[in-house]
Symmetry: C2
Subunit: 206 residues, 2 copies
C-alpha cells in the first residue's frame, strides 16, 4: 500500500461509498485527460491521476478498476465532442461523415491519438483486453449501431446483417488506425462507405 | 558492439557478402522459429537467434534489419504450410476456406499466435510499424489479392473494388485477432464472406 492509501479517508473526495460523487468523477476525468495530453498512454498512471484530482486511489479503483478502464472513460468523453451521429439520411453519407470525424478525433485528441496504445496493451494484458473488448467496444459502437439500424429501417440493408456490417466497418477503421493511415483520405473513405452500404450479400441466392 | 560482432568474420556462416547463403538463411529461420515457439515474440531476440544458428549478427541484420523483419520471414514460411489458396471456384467459398485456415494458423502456429505481439510493437516503434505496413502487409495479402482478382474476372465483383474489398477483409480479421475472437466461428465467417462477396456497391447509382 502506498502512503496515499493510508491517509485518513475523510480527507479525500468521493470516498463516502459505492455511489459516484459527480464532482469527484469530473475532477478525476479532467486530471486523467490533462495527464494523457502531457504524457500519452505510456506515462498515464492512476497514482498520478489520484494526486492531481485530490481523490483517493481506492475510490478511483472502485470506479475504474484498471488504467484501461479510466482511459476508456476519458476517450468516451472526448469522442462525444468530436464525433456526433451525422443523421445524413442515407447509410453511405452517414458512414462518410462519421468516419471523417472519427479519424479527426483519432489524430487530434489526446485520448484519440493514444487509443493505439490501449490496443497494444490489450495484446499483453488480459485485463486490458477485457476492458477493450467487453466494455470499450460495445460502448463505443452505440452511435454506429444506430446508424446501421436506421439504414435497415429504410430498407438499405437487411436488419439481420447489422452486426456483421458493423464489424466490417470497425475492422476497416482499426486496420487504418493501427497502420497509421488515418489522414483525411476522402477517396478511400467514400469507397469503403459505398461498399459497406451496398453489401446486401446473396442471402436469397446463397 | 557485443563480443560476437568482434569475432573474426571468416568463422561465421554467411558473412561472405550481400548475396544470401541459402544454408545460413535456413539455419537462421529454423533457429528463429524454435525460439519463437519457446519464448514467444517478447522473448525473441536476434542475439539469441544468431547464437543458435551459428550465424553472425551483422549477416542477420543485413538480411533482416529488425526483429520485426525476421519475425515476418518466419511468419511467411509457417503460414504457407497452413494457408493455401483454396481455388474453391467462387469468392464466398474461397473466403470461408481461407479464413478458417488463417485462424487455425493464428491459433496453432508459434509465429501465428505471436503475430498480435508484432502489431502491438508497431504501435510504439516506427521501425516495427514500417516492417508491418510496408513489408508484411503487401507480402501477406498476395494470395488474397489473387482470390479477389479471380472473382473480378468471373464478374462476381468489380475489378476496381479489389483493393477496397481486400482492406475490408483484412480489417475484419485484424479486429477478430486483436480482440481474441478467432475460435472456429463458422456462422460469423460465413456471414462475413457472404457480405464481402456480395458487396457490389451502388457504383452506377452513386
Amino acid at each position: 500500500m502506498s502512503e496515499d492509501d493510508e491517509a485518513p479517508r475523510g480527507r479525500r473526495r468521493g470516498s463516502i461509498g459505492a455511489r459516484r460523487n459527480p464532482e469527484t468523477e469530473a475532477a478525476v476525468l479532467m486530471a486523467a485527460q490533462a495527464l494523457l495530453a502531457e504524457k500519452g498512454y505510456a506515462g498515464f498512471s492512476i497514482d498520478e491521476v489520484a494526486r492531481r484530482a485530490g481523490a483517493g486511489k481506492p475510490t478511483i479503483y472502485r470506479w475504474w478498476p484498471t488504467k484501461a478502464d479510466l482511459f476508456v472513460a476519458v476517450y468516451e468523453q472526448d469522442k462525444a465532442a468530436f464525433v456526433a451521429d451525422p443523421h445524413a439520411g442515407d447509410l453511405k453519407s452517414d458512414l462518410i461523415a462519421y468516419t471523417r470525424a472519427l479519424w479527426t478525433f483519432w489524430r487530434d485528441s489526446p485520448a484519440g491519438c493514444t487509443f493505439r496504445a490501449l490496443v497494444a496493451e490489450a495484446q499483453g494484458s488480459k485485463a486490458a483486453l477485457a476492458a477493450l473488448r467487453d466494455k470499450f467496444l460495445p460502448e463505443r459502437v452505440r452511435t454506429l449501431r444506430n446508424i446501421f439500424a436506421r439504414a435497415a429501417v429504410r430498407g438499405e440493408i437487411d436488419a439481420a446483417d447489422v452486426e456483421a456490417l458493423l464489424e466490417l466497418y470497425v475492422g476497416f477503421n482499426w486496420l487504418r488506425m493501427l497502420t497509421d493511415r488515418i489522414a483525411d483520405d476522402k477517396a478511400a473513405v467514400d469507397r469503403m462507405a459505398r461498399l459497406i452500404a451496398g453489401a446486401r450479400g446473396d442471402r436469397k441466392a446463397g
